[in-house]
Symmetry: C2
Subunit: 354 residues, 2 copies
Amino acid sequence: MDLDGYFDAFTRRDWQTIEEGRIRVAVIGLGGFARNRALPAIRDGRFCETTVLVSGSPEKAEGVANEFDVERVIGYEEFHAGDASEAYDAVYVATPPAFHEEYAETAARLGKHVLCEKPLATDVSGAERMVEACAEAGVVLMTAYRLRTEPSIRRMREMIADGVIGEPVQVHGGFSSRLLEHAGPDTWRLDPEIAGGGALMDLGVYPLNTARFLLGIDPLAVQATTSSGAVPFDRVEKDVAFQLTFPGGATASCTASFDAHPDSRLQVLGTEGQLLIRAPFGGDVSQELVVERGETHTEYTGAPVDEVREEFDYFAHCILAGGDCETDGEDGLADLRTVEAAYESAETGERIDL
Amino acid sequence: MDLDGYFDAFTRRDWQTIEEGRIRVAVIGLGGFARNRALPAIRDGRFCETTVLVSGSPEKAEGVANEFDVERVIGYEEFHAGDASEAYDAVYVATPPAFHEEYAETAARLGKHVLCEKPLATDVSGAERMVEACAEAGVVLMTAYRLRTEPSIRRMREMIADGVIGEPVQVHGGFSSRLLEHAGPDTWRLDPEIAGGGALMDLGVYPLNTARFLLGIDPLAVQATTSSGAVPFDRVEKDVAFQLTFPGGATASCTASFDAHPDSRLQVLGTEGQLLIRAPFGGDVSQELVVERGETHTEYTGAPVDEVREEFDYFAHCILAGGDCETDGEDGLADLRTVEAAYESAETGERIDL
């Protein structure tokens, strides 16, 4: 099988079918990721523009509005009251997970499409309500898994589907950070009420969602072990190791940690070869994608692509072109079902069927 | 912490305390590993010599005896009868696992030390009897985990013990081969009566034993999933994924497969850094050991060392110098306890405490 077809136009948007159109986005919540990654990505992209900022800190919001040339700034209450709703077509919910539902529901009520950060909600029932509200309103609900528009991951998925590495057998994936180096001990990520969990909810969903996406199937069962630690790591799991079993017998062995050397990696071992990617989950994907088959080792070393820009354009494209949004609310919901089962497995010691 | 101390004399034998001595070895079973790796390693080593071959195929044995200049060749029955026992001090049991016990017990009865291939036996009770027989006879019983004398692994262990990567958090380890490319479908490795199991027994014990060795502690619990396949992979597990939990919360996520792209890798992620080794389990360890700490990436790229030669010399040294043999029968037994628990977990879906 010829690898050139994957490498020659590595960063192509296999999903793009239209050339024109623009979606006006209200960005809700102006945390670090929204300011440093999302707003620049929207600005640099093709199908979106930021027209409204929704924030609880008007002063911070005004500075950001000036930087990104955004006309309207409103508060959370104003958003819920429908203020400025004529000025945007969709919202990007970038608040902590516990607040996703209320903004998504208001947006749906106002007839606005929703791009919502992962995890979709703090639990399955919240995510189910969000999916239902958006379906009833006839608006797109997309879960913001930026990996799904990352060229390295999309090319990996194509190669796997095309049998480049034979049948997938075993996946290893890990994602770790030293949370306290970029957040205080009072960060919402360590508050179970706001985050819904710890390292599994915040980091473990990356290898989880990516494994599901790459294999194109959902897991049948999960086994997991979690551990917490001393303050401030005592309220949620600091570390998690979980193991997914897929139809046909393939497995994914995944880990995540809030307090380890920053690293991310992904290996998909198949009967005939393997795919390895260095640093897939860190935000700036290095695209050091390795394809091994037999005794051949091929490495793609092209420049990184801004996966967040790709993500916003994909979201707008789903609205404009009207096709299926693959990374939809059901997708985020499927992850939360697995996450809840993983917590149950960690608690009971049992393999939990999904 | 200065890394030079580990790298400057990377291949040093930290275990060697004597300079002289020689142990005469009877090699029992002349399969591919014994002929291609063990006999050359003994010849090239410092503290061993092969003086007797024990084989069920006299013709094959004579050719091998000529090649390696071995004086005596006897059959299995002659071995059990004590023939040529004056000509050797120790035995190397290189038969399939189901036959380990009988040779080890005869050797113990004859007062001979035993180096036995892994896994030590096909089940825990067999290994317990071997440990007991050798203890009663006052002979050394060593399990042939060649990784334990591999310089890369020993330096990794020292770095971990010295805190070079902080506290260990998560281990990922995998070992896969395409068994049918170097064995027929009737290989004993696929016969549960002879091998005691499949990919876990033959390959999975490598990441298992190495994780235990590197962390210096034994796991508290194991969760596992196995899958078999179409003939000839229908009698034992073709693939296994297992997850160990260690005291303090560290985990090891391990996989093994009899029918996947040949690969082995090991990652030890710590709070302050990580260690990565490419191809640790394949027999010829490449020694591409990577040490990451903070934003520093250091790679050792020295020439490989024959870990099998190191293993035989370590075994002989244990006998000659009289100290503890770290890779003893209890060590092989501990692995089998974990293996049996992993099979129970795969069967019941429960996390099994050890």
